[in-house]
Assembly symmetry: C2
Homo-oligomer: 207 residues x 2
């Protein structure tokens, strides 16, 4: 089967549990996955580290990256740039690791345009009611922030149809397992195995 | 997630181990899968039973089925008709069972045309050399039959690219597991979850 890594993009509602999901997936299969770290021009928040949550760069540096075609995708969101450095992603894929990008919808769709083999995953709670419960359950956000996230969820839901797969995050362990199986199954995709197919054709003719 | 069954079509080289694979998959997950039985006008071979290997019908009966649009697909192969009865497949899918058709390439591509959501799987040994070894290893076929199957494999390989996934049958248990995971992961496909997405959009707006 294909030795080249899969590119998987994960998006989903705030409150869907993407973060925990990714953390668990990478913990369970540290050898298999590489998590791409985005570059951004926004300021680091308390506790965030350069090179861990994001590569924090200046607007000038970011625009230089754009000019050098060093980003797979980039998007502007709430007045700041966000983008995915290309070299890391391609290197990891060449090395056979599956690369996961956790990015916003606009960026996700741009990646898919550029790399049609990208696996687009949309993570959602089992219902809208459950999404609201989770956002409120955190107990750390103001009512304004919650209303804002729910309003954004309405907008984001409009793009769900454009993703390849919907991952319902009801039970964390089950969802991690599904996500892993889904990404791994992509190694069998025909488009990932064109070399194998070409060799098989060649060899069969020589028998 | 989607409660509707998946339609999976399995094709592959003679000698790839499709038969054993399907038998094992159905044994391990009897509740989940339904194997569609084809209708054919060819004569039953020793040990074959009507309704188990095939529905053996006359040419007139088969053509009546075509006329009544009672077949998902049909093809003519070595002078005999082969086809997939529609009602069984649709009933099983409605009941939430994943239906597997083991059919020839021509039929497989016809099913995909009619039902674009069909999962097309092509089963192959890890190499052409291994295919030959397996065909010879059976020890039951004449050299002519073996040459004929290898010649057919050359022709069939030309269509591998048109399948969705390539399943390399190297280790039986691993291949059964991959096949199961692959088919199950299709329940998360966006096209299988349009109702869920529509409900989610609706509910989010009402929060």
């Amino acid at each position: 089967m294909s030795q080249k890594g899969i590119l998987a993009v994960v998006s989903g509602f705030s409150g869907a549990g993407k973060g925990t999901l990714m953390k668990e997936l990478l913990k369970q299969h540290a050898d298999q996955y590489a998590l791409s770290i985005s570059a951004t021009t926004r300021s680091p928040r308390v506790g965030e580290e350069h090179g861990r949550e994001y590569f924090f760069v200046s607007k000038e540096e970011f625009e230089e990256m754009i000019g050098q075609d060093a980003l797979i995708e980039h998007a502007c969101y709430v007045g700041n740039y966000y983008g995915t450095p290309k070299s890391y992603v391609l290197e990891q894929m060449e090395a056979g690791r599956d690369v996961i990008l956790e990015i916003e919808i606009q960026g996700a769709l741009n990646v898919k345009k550029k790399f049609p083999d990208t696996l687009l995953l949309f993570v959602t709670p089992p219902s809208a009611g459950e999404l609201e419960r989770r956002l409120r359950g955190r107990g750390t956000e103001t009512e304004d922030v919650i209303r804002d996230r729910l309003k954004r969820a309405v907008e984001e839901a409009e793009y769900m149809d454009q993703y390849d797969y919907i991952l319902v995050n009801d039970d964390l362990d089950a969802c991690v397992a599904s996500m892993h199986e889904l990404i791994q199954s992509q190694h069998g995709k025909t488009s990932q195995n064109l070399e194998f197919i070409a060799e098989m054709k060649q060899e069969l003719k020589q028998l």
